[in-house]
């Protein structure tokens, strides 16, 4: 996976580059808009990370210019701004995503994977999801584990569906809050964890292989193997 990182803070750029490379990305970095433009047009990238506060131009104008130049890869926007303005929302609707600084690396990686998956043609609208012996019927809103119907509340079903769609990938608490409850909040209580415990109690019955794993300080993952 080729990734273009546009970030002017050298400190952040270097640790991002290292951790992204560790995560298996082939990273090219640019510290300003001009370099980013040149690199983006020359090289084929699968995904871009763009910081909004660039020294020579606004991150938005860079993204718009890149889109005009024919760059189709999804963009993950990094912003140190406090208020998320409408333009970010507009871009988000266009299939891109954003993260405010400071962020968790796991969150960044999870969102990158999410963007890449969203962009791949395989994500067609299926009516059934299957992860190992867990099966979700999206039309009848019914989940079964090893043939046994799970008694889930509608909200638990949505949560499990989200985990299944991201099976094998880490999802963070804020991603869950964002995608399942539609809120960008950071509760200082463990509200998401309690939902996961409850769901786990229903999905991972006694004697069964536990599917929902907790990654401490990061989030959750639904095992797919």
């Amino acid at each position: 996976m080729r990734l273009l990182l546009v970030e002017d803070e050298i400190d952040i750029q270097s640790f991002l580059r290292r951790s992204l490379e560790e995560a298996g990305y082939e990273v090219e970095a640019a510290a300003d808009g001009k370099t980013a433009e040149r690199l983006a047009v020359d090289g084929e990238f699968d995904i871009l990370i763009v910081d909004l506060g660039l020294p020579d131009q606004d991150g938005f104008s860079l993204i718009l210019k890149l889109r005009q130049l024919g760059v189709r890869a999804p963009v993950l926007i990094l912003s140190a701004r406090r208020s998320v303005d409408d333009r970010v929302r507009g871009l988000e609707q266009g299939g891109d995503d954003y993260l405010t600084k400071p962020f968790a690396l796991a969150e960044l990686l999870a969102r990158l994977r999410n963007l890449l998956k969203r962009n791949s043609p395989a994500s067609s609208e299926a009516t059934r999801l299957r992860v190992l012996d867990l099966e979700l019927d999206l039309l009848r809103r019914e989940a079964t584990r090893a043939g046994q119907v799970l008694q889930l509340t509608p909200q638990e079903f949505v949560l499990l569906e989200y985990l299944c769609r991201n099976a094998g990938r880490v999802v963070t608490r804020s991603m869950i809050l964002d995608k399942v409850w539609g809120m960008r909040i950071q509760p200082d209580t463990n509200v998401v964890d309690v939902h996961i415990y409850r769901l786990r109690g229903k999905v991972d019955g006694p004697g069964q292989q536990p599917l929902i794993r907790t990654l401490r300080g990061v989030g959750y993952v639904l095992k797919d193997r």
Binding site: E9, D11, I12, F15, L16, R18, S19, E22, G53, A80, R81, R82, S83, V84, D85, D86, T100, K101, P102, F103, A104, L105, A106, Q155, L177, W181, G182, M183, R184, I185, Q186, P187, D188, T189, N190, V191, V194, H195, Y197, R198, R216, G217
Partner: protein, 475 residues
């Protein structure tokens, strides 16, 4: 515009202004008319007096020069009759007999010697004798039996007798009355016209002021781009509008400065925080023992708390300065509360708490969704952290006085007495609280930024009560 201004016209200051102006105008014009009336009355009197004096002279001459014989009375009577026919301003007599003029001669002993006029002249003589009438000085005389007074001139004749010529003031009074009537009519029309002109001009003027006030009130807490309408005239009202706009310019620019400061503060703190967090996380990702990882994980958690504190502090600071930037959308509080309860219910029931929503259905406000989400999450977090087990949290949502009212009540211990008066101040928290003391300050900030309000206190029966009010969405 007119349909809008028509309703409050009675409450408008235009009424008061034009009433006072009209009163002053009416008094002024009334004085002018009274003066004019007096002037005309004096003039008419002078003319009739001049006529009286002239006639009495002629009559005196005739009386003197006519020999004292049987013919004397006859000649004088004829002359007096003739004189009475050339009375000025004479009305076509309402009465057949000539009651507008009398002529009277007394002998030297004061007895009536000659009388020309209506009646027998006894009453006239009595009235004349009762009042002192100086020769050549016409005098006002009231005669019994006549409703209208006379103007009487006298002359002394050589033989010691007096002659008197009286002219009824009837015609004079009639002229003056009709003049007065016209004056009153004219005065009334003028006052009415004046009132109309003053009322419409002040109302037009004040409608500009009202437009300015309406526009100014529309310029909300955070929308400072709008300006009040200005007019082309160079008067006080347009000065008012210009001054308001200048003021808004200054407020907007200081607001902009505040935003720049908070933004750069946020940016300057966030970049190093990002770098620190990233480095900590990278050192964590390497395979390490739990004992080694623990301090790093807790450092990361501290950093996250610091970030949250930074965000909330800046939000509270901006909101205190009425500078919180809002991205308003239609937001259904009922739906939001249901989602929030759905989100928090497992955590709450785990701690033995029970959230209950009492809502009458959808209730839409125009608000910044992200801020409202954070605000309500804040309230729920507070309940979750501070309530002992087996408490109930009641959430009531309803419309009251054209505002969306959200009341959160619990049956827990309530707020500490010593923090109660300072609940919405920054850094205020209860003894056992481990938060950073921004929770309710943030709630207050968000409510105020939306033009709403928040009140908090303890319920009579024990437990905390927080009441939030938001303006309803304009449909």
């Amino acid at each position: 515009m007119f349909s809008k201004t028509a309703k409050p016209a009675l409450r408008s200051a235009a009424w008061r202004i034009s009433l006072w102006a009209t009163l002053a105008f009416a008094c002024g014009t009334l004085l002018v008319f009274i003066f004019l009336h007096r002037f005309v009355a004096d003039d008419i009197q002078r003319r009739s007096d001049a006529w009286l004096v002239g006639e009495i002279e002629v009559l005196g001459d005739v009386a003197e020069q006519t020999p004292m014989n049987a013919l004397h009375d006859r000649v004088v009577e004829e002359v007096a009759e003739l004189a009475s026919k050339e009375v000025p301003n004479r009305d076509a007599s309402a009465n057949a007999s000539n009651d507008s003029v009398f002529f009277l001669q007394t002998g030297s002993n004061g007895s009536l010697t000659l009388w020309v006029g209506a009646g027998n002249g006894v009453a006239n003589l009595k009235a004349i004798q009762a009042s002192r009438i100086l020769p050549d000085h016409p005098t006002h005389l009231r005669v019994q039996g006549f409703t209208i007074p006379f103007r009487v001139a006298s002359a002394r004749i050589n033989d010691g007798s007096y002659i008197y010529l009286g002219l009824s003031e009837r015609d004079e009074l009639r002229v003056l009355r009709s003049l007065g009537l016209r004056f009153i009519l004219l005065w009334f029309l003028l006052v009415l016209l004046g009132f109309g002109i003053v009322f419409f001009t002040t109302r037009r003027m004040l409608s500009h002021v009202r437009e300015i006030a309406e526009a100014a009130s529309r310029i909300g807490h955070s929308d400072l781009h709008a300006r009040v309408p200005t007019t082309k005239h160079n008067d006080e009202v347009s000065h008012l509008a210009l001054t308001l706009n200048h003021m808004l310019d200054r407020i907007e620019s200081s607001m902009h400065q505040l935003h720049t400061i908070t933004d750069s503060l946020a940016h300057d703190l966030r970049s190093p925080l990002t770098a620190i967090r990233g480095k900590l996380e990278m050192s964590l990702s390497a395979a390490m023992q739990v004992e080694q990882a623990d301090p790093i994980v807790s450092s990361i958690e501290e950093l996250d708390r610091l970030t949250d504190f930074l965000n909330k502090s800046l939000d509270v600071a901006e909101a205190k300065a009425d500078a919180l930037r809002l991205n308003r959308v239609a937001l259904d509080l009922d739906e939001l509360l249901r989602i929030m309860i759905d989100l928090y219910e497992p955590s709450m029931s785990e701690r033995g708490l029970q959230p209950r929503l009492h809502s009458g259905g959808p209730l839409v406000i125009e608000a910044d969704a992200a801020l409202i989400h954070r605000m309500i999450a804040n309230l729920f977090d507070n309940e979750l952290k501070h309530l002992p087990a087996a408490c109930t949290v009641n959430l009531r949502l309803r419309v009251e006085d054209a505002a969306a009212l959200l009341i959160l009540e619990d049956d827990g211990p309530g707020f500490d007495a010593e923090v109660l008066p300072h609940l919405f101040e920054r850094r205020v928290k209860g003894k056992d609280s481990n938060g950073h003391g921004l929770g309710l300050a943030f709630v207050d900030a968000v409510a105020r930024a939306h033009g709403g309000s928040v009140a908090a206190g303890n319920r009579d029966g024990g437990g905390a009560r927080i009441e939030l009010s938001f303006p309803l969405a304009s449909t």
